[in-house]
Amino acid sequence: MDSTHTSKSSTLLSNASNILAITAHEFKTPLTTIASIVDLLSIKLQADRYMNPFYEEQLSRITSEIFSLNNMLDEMLTINNIMSGNFEAKKELLYVEEQILPLKEQFRSLTDDHKTLQITMSGTPCKILANSGQLTRIFTNLFSNAFKFSRKNAPTVHLSYQEKALVITVSDDGIGIPPEDLPHLFQPYYRGSNTNGIAGTGLGLTIVKTFVTANDGEITVSSEPDKGTVFTLAFRYPDTYQ
């Protein structure tokens, strides 16, 4: 009886997971259609000499929201894959800075105030054993949060090549995280009590934590409300594995 129930529950979960994956992918075509309609409107307004800064700004906002919605879908898909145990595990030896540098450009173009991610390094670069796609996702999510919450200064990332491990810190001078939220930060759908009105799914840091752990790394966070947040990640070099 119990095993029948377990089997039925597992089938239901698997079906729900498949439905979610199919639906999330199906959403992407209408999103492409909307983005294309915005492009079409923009070209026609330019051609007919009706374009002005107001129209331009509103059209740009629609495009920006389309890609925010797409990011939310991607986060749902990633969490869905994680929960069904279906995510890539292929690891290779790589330099982390090679994953981070292309993201600098990506984040520069996305901010209105042209803040640029500040990258610093210390020590002699060494390769770590990790999955390239997952590392990119880890940093995309952390940088995205840092840019979203930073205020006066641009977010910074520091790569410290220490004796046995690479220690990476991602810092911002944002609103910070209240102490009571810190223990729950990596739980799915948990959002800080001071993030009302700021877009987000509450899945980004769960994905970060899962992928850091899957790549044999560790992540910790320290934060002070109204001062900022620092995420610290550590990845040991492969020749120090026991």
């Binding site: 992918h25 199906e26 992407k28 075509t29 209408p30 999103l31 492409t32 259609t33 909307i34 983005a35 294309s36 309609i37 492009d39 079409l40 070209i43 026609k44 051609a47 495009t63 389309i66 890609f67 797409n70 991607d74 796609g133």
Partner: protein, 126 residues
């Protein structure tokens, strides 16, 4: 002469909008709603470039790439793939089957146009 593009997409809304955008950029556009219809249109019109979705009824984008590579009149025509799937193995699979480029949905037209110009230029040079 303007390049002739065959656009294969099963969602009418996207098909019509992309067609309008391409025509505004002076391309001559023909359309098909699935891979089988797209293959027949390609044989009849011999376009300069094809833009195709992957997941479509009757013949999907991967099968379409196979049919193009096997057909002596179509094997040199560049095929750009558009898909909601962004996983590396999907992209590699399409490229191994001979796709000239791969664009992940959603995309903005400027990126599609860059890939079109690149594929047409490369094809002219070869």
């Amino acid at each position: 002469m303007n390049a002739r593009i065959l656009l294969i997409e099963d969602k009418a809304g996207l098909l019509n909008t992309l067609k309008s955008l391409l025509e505004l950029h002076d391309y001559s556009v023909i359309t098909a709603r699935n891979g089988e219809e797209g293959l027949a249109m390609a044989i009849r019109h011999l376009p300069d470039l094809v833009i195709s979705d992957i997941y479509m009824p009757v013949i999907n984008g991967y099968e379409l790439l196979d049919r193009f590579r096997e057909h002596p009149a179509l094997c040199k025509i560049p095929v750009l793939i558009t898909s909601a799937k962004k996983e590396d193995d999907e992209i590699e699979h399409a490229m191994r089957k001979g796709a000239a480029g791969y664009l992940v949905k959603p995309f903005v037209f400027v990126h599609l146009h860059e890939q079109i110009k690149k594929a047409l230029k490369k094809n002219q040079q070869s």
